[in-house]
Amino acid sequence: MKTNLIPLVCFVLLSAFADAQSTPRTPMLADRIRMIQVNHALLEDLLDHGIRLSDTDTHLGRAAECRKALVTIGGEVNRTVEQPAADLDRLSELADQMTQLTTEGLLPTLEAARAQIRAGSPGAEKLAKIETQTSDDLQTLLTGLTLDPRLNRNETLRIALDRLRSTLPSVKPVEK
């Protein structure tokens, strides 16, 4: 009877060792289908933002639309948090997407707008409004997430939120 345990023990050992490896798993078909089930409404909303971004000719207009896209992802973050068992992996993913959109889309566009717009012009006022709104939106979202006791024990989420927080000084630079 006990001799039958040898293969079992070897299997347990091997499984534990394989499971302990940090190589990321490739999502299976079922995972990918589940992801599109969860995200399809968000994907459609973001596409609408993409079309409006595509239709807009000015830096300011695109920065404003990009902010709205961030608000849409932020809304999805809030909906995820409101669920009784918040999916922390999804929250980290959404936070990382917000960081990417901010750093690769919004910040370079705000930079281009700042270089183009003269101080005191109507454009400068609009630019300041976009900067303030974006900064306030992100700050409100981050504060809410940081205060939620269910969320602050997750290391991956904490790192994702820190990355998003690190964009704030560039969104609304401190006036000299």
Binding site: N39, E44, G50, D89, G105
Partner: protein, 272 residues
């Protein structure tokens, strides 16, 4: 054609699915017309090969193989191990078995402790690995599309972005057809239509009015080739796909065809 392009062609040919080039290949494809055309050709070839019928196995060969199996020797053989002289009493045998059992018990305990140690000792790396595995690729690509569109200033730049995104949507539809729900497939086909019409085709109409048809053709060549490949692929996929997936691929083929017609109008200057 440069040496880089030859290397890129080799890498494109080696892709498991030509509809999904890797990030570094996409970067090159974004700025190289010949490589985009090469990829479009690969996709057409892939669609045609996928549609080829698989010949049925010869039943006689299968029967002969199965009939021959019982005549083969067993994979695992039972062997009797003779007891050595001098220790052939029952008591000696029992002592040896008891000793072996105690070693097995100790080995099992050690293995379980080691296994548990490995599992819990390395558990801090698990959240990152799992989170990385469950990121939604299409969502990431869409956010990257939005980021690029936020920076893009000319219709030509925006056309290139939409062309890549349409390809991403088509690839996702292909995947979803293998087991997704109807509502999600419909959402993807709606997105494809919107991106093709309100994204790509609309920007084609916004190319500078003073451009000649030749300049417009050059600017739209890659997008047109992608749409033609998508139309061909989706038509073949519609023929092969079951039930609702068939309708979705028909819709994608139709959207690609309409958008391509609008691109051709834009090239002729009729859309202005």
């Amino acid at each position: 054609m440069t040496t880089t392009c030859r290397s890129i062609e080799l890498q494109l040919t080696g892709l498991p699915d030509p509809a999904v080039p890797t990030e570094d290949l996409r970067a090159h494809l974004g700025e190289c017309d010949p490589c985009r055309k090469y990829l479009a050709g690969l996709r057409r070839l892939d669609a045609i090969v996928s549609s080829l019928p698989v010949p049925a196995a010869d039943p006689l060969v299968k029967d002969a193989f199965l009939a021959g199996l019982p005549a083969l020797p067993p994979i695992i053989e039972r062997r009797l191990i003779p007891v050595r002289s001098g220790s052939d009493s029952y008591a000696a045998l029992t002592r040896r078995v008891a000793s072996a059992r105690s070693w097995i018990g100790a080995g099992t305990a050690a293995a379980l402790i080691l296994g548990a140690g490995l599992y819990f000792g390395t558990s801090d790396t698990r959240p990152q690995a799992q989170a990385a595995a469950f990121r939604h690729e299409l969502l990431a690509k869409e956010v990257a599309t939005l980021a690029t569109l936020t920076k893009a200033t000319t219709p030509k730049e925006k056309i290139a972005v939409w062309t890549v995104f349409l390809n991403d949507l088509h690839a996702e539809a292909k995947l979803l057809a293998r087991g997704g729900e109807v509502s999600e497939m419909q959402a993807l086909s709606r997105m494809y239509k919107k991106a093709a019409t309100d994204g790509l085709a609309k920007q084609a109409c916004l190319l500078p009015h003073h451009w000649t048809p030749a300049q417009r053709r050059e600017a739209l060549a890659a997008a047109e080739a992608e749409l033609a490949a998508a139309e061909t692929q989706a038509t073949i996929q519609a023929d092969l796909a079951p039930g609702q997936a068939k309708v979705i691929f028909q819709a994608i083929a139709g959207s690609a065809k309409d958008a391509r017609a609008r691109l051709q109008q834009a090239i002729r200057g009729e859309a202005f």
